[in-house]
Symmetry: C3
Subunit: 353 residues, 3 copies
């Protein structure tokens, strides 16, 4: 399949500068693209590759200069345009309807006839799967769990009993939706932790993606919620009763402690974490490896463990690296004060302390 | 099923203040509880919800004030009382005895007749499962592994060959007990890492809970041990030859390096980690995201990476955030010293340096 | 099976000091070794155990003193010698060739006749498995994936469609090779994250070991690469388009952001992470829990989040802990300056400011 640059430009609301009749057959990086492919240039870190690319055309934003002898498609958001064109060249696969004889589907489960249930998938009693949903091998869907339409659940992942997953979601391999929350009360007479029943569920709204081996614990009571359109990366931990607002981004290995709520569009960098029972406001950005110990307002940017506002952290962290010389400076100054005192004392010997 | 408040109070060794004859049918949060439910109030963060709750009754400790028009059950430990009552309303499910025809159980495995082995579970040669133990779909029990009685192993988790899991344990989805320890010796002649055979096992004692996608590596030689009653959260890493003492708590994404031993009742906050070959004393608490580089005595509380005693860290961390102004203060002081020196020099010009 | 010490010494290019005719039947820790076993002593932390050991012999390097009444085998690298001898006593198991009737192997897959495919493994259309490769139960090999020879893929792990795994690799339980990269472009008109197709693959070269529940994302375009001989521990995250050089070591819970490349022999400590689009030079060592925000040259050693050169970090971190007293010192000095100024003013009242 090929598409002309003019066709692609129209698709992404862009303008061709150069030859719109060129046809391309794929998308590639600046470095690897051949003459039959389109690429994109969105980060000046790759200026050298832009200069050298053999791509037929490059997606650029309004600030980038068109390179000599290169056709560009100018768009407001090259990253988004890249996403649209990549989807054109790499459409999501479709899966044949049907339940593999190697799958184990309980007689009381309701599986839409358009679903694809592969060998080794397990669907428990009373579970419901809506149209066009796909279960890969080794998927476990617990009793009375419900999954919406056009959701893809990759191999060996879990949607535990009673949990809800929406429409158009993607659950990657090994992800666990609905493990027990981590709740215990210590009985000091028995000298033992007593398990607190985790009787709630997880509700994953529409258009959510959950990364490989990520874990979303069920609520103690009520629901742990992953809001519509949120994207969760691999190995993330979401504890019981958390509520993640719509369109939030949790990068790999993030950890949310219990009952913390995130607003909409919150972004958490890799390996960052929060304490429990907090609220993080809309659009707030938490830097990688940060630790959040108290509520954050909307539209903040923070970094550090425990975190500070970004600029405060960066200035302090630079000075942290200079602590040895700052201490030397302090000690030298003290020495000068000692000398000043000595001389003053010598000349003003009569002044009482 | 309903229970009277008086019945519940007796169960949890508490006292009803109000109407003990009220019957409740469940437990819920302060916010969501209806007139037929009991709730609990253990954290003053939820004072507003306590004021507004429509619950039939609330579990409180001795310090909390009984709200007007509200029946309370006063107990020493509301959290523990909540656990007991939640268990009453949400008993652990029971599973029908039997081996699903879709399970693969080796002919030489010894599976008690009361076990429930679901479709897609795999039990290797010579493995032993004691009474009432449950294997969910996709569980892998390796050769000669042994699992005690009344243990629940959720879907897609692993008890690898020869490893031991005790009685009344819970292993959550995707957890791995008995992966190889991470041990290599570098052969600089061959320029290659040489694998060190991981010939030991994991021994999980009774009443342990292991979280989803957590990993417990087998010992190089001997045993990696998870002590009786310890609770391990999701995505935790326990390396080869670690020994976790009884009743310890490892929160999500904790990492223990090889051969580290924890005493009893150690608590490690989320995303914290230790170096290898350390000993952490009984009841010591390690804050979230902390990094431990040396042994810790019993009953310490530490924070930071690398860690300091909690109070030291907190004071230092506050001052870290003020480093920019402290440096300004230092520079201003130096300027004043320069002026002092100049004036002293002007008035005492004759004094030799 | 027993071996004489002389035989073992020859195997590891070492020298017996003592009785080379003693035969041993296994290897064990200094503490647990019996009179029929050999042990090793490579870390002075275990001096007490060395003094007390009942082992028949101990592997030591050139710097260690031979203990009285103990035979030692002196070698250049006791750790490597231990690896060789442990492999002798604990050879990797072999697996019977054949495809279990409980496995699901697509008719178009090419599985070498020497492979062992256990019950519950799944091999997709067009996949290829070379000689002596082993798939444990619950393994998922996607369409057109290829796995080399003598590779062991443990239970419930994933080699997703089109991904490549080399020869003599080990993939531990629950590991995921080929999950989607985490790439989205925000469409602010639609207020939604748009998925960027992840059309590339993962290529795992020969002799790689991938830990339990580790995740290696496929490239957006092109390849994510794990270089020959690299070792990846449990719960590690490698994002799309990363390239890990040969013989690198990623300890547990490490996270690499997208498009970062590592040179050869890089070592990353547990829970450390990097930003995206970075390059880390050959043999560079990144301390546990460190965060890397910019490129690193070869042969560096860094620590901290964000990181500093090791020595800089350690000095600064020590002073961080002393910030409270340093601030006291600063304030005391200021007080002395105030007094100096007052006295100077008193004696030089006439001098204009």
């Amino acid at each position: 399949v090929t598409h002309t640059l003019q066709h692609l430009a129209t698709l992404v609301h862009g303008t061709v500068e150069g030859d719109g009749d060129i046809a391309v057959s794929g998308i590639n990086t600046l470095e690897a693209a051949t003459a039959g492919e389109i690429s994109f240039y969105g980060n000046k870190r790759y200026a050298k590759q832009y200069e050298a690319t053999r791509a037929a055309a490059v997606l650029v934003d309004n600030d980038m200069v068109r390179r000599k002898n290169l056709t560009v498609i100018r768009v407001r958001n090259p990253h988004l345009a890249f996403a649209r064109i990549a989807a054109l060249f790499h459409p999501r696969p479709s899966f044949p309807a049907g339940i593999s004889p190697g799958a184990h589907v309980d007689a009381t489960a309701q599986v839409d006839a358009t679903c694809c249930i592969m060998a080794g998938a397990f669907v428990g009693a009373g579970a419901q799967l809506a149209a066009h949903t796909v279960l890969f091998p080794g998927v476990f869907v617990g009793e009375r769990a419900r999954i919406g339409s056009s959701t893809v659940v990759y191999n060996n992942s879990t949607v535990a009993d009673r949990c809800l997953v929406g429409n158009h979601c993607i659950v990657h391999s090994g992800a666990v939706v609905g493990s027990d929350g981590f709740g215990f009360a210590f009985d000091d007479a028995a000298m033992a932790h007593v398990k607190i029943a985790q009787a709630g569920i997880v509700r994953v709204e529409d258009d959510v993606e959950i990364g490989a081996n990520a874990c979303i614990d069920r609520a103690t009571i009520g629901e742990t919620v992953i809001g519509k359109g949120s994207k969760i990366d691999n190995l993330v931990q979401v504890a019981h009763n958390c509520v993640v607002g719509a369109n939030s981004i949790l990068c790999a290995q993030v950890g949310l402690s219990g009952s913390t709520t995130l607003g909409q569009g919150v972004v958490m960098g890799g390996q960052s974490g929060t304490a429990g029972h907090l609220h993080i406001g809309d659009l707030t950005k938490i830097g990688a490896q940060s630790g959040i110990l108290s509520d954050l307002d909307a539209q903040q940017t923070v970094l550090g463990s425990p975190s500070f506002p970004l600029q405060t952290f960066l200035k302090a962290h630079t000075l942290f690296g200079k602590l040895p010389e700052l201490v030397k400076e302090l000690r030298a100054l003290r020495q000068r004060v000692v000398q000043l005192e000595a001389r003053q004392h010598a000349s003003q010997g009569e002044i009482p302390k």
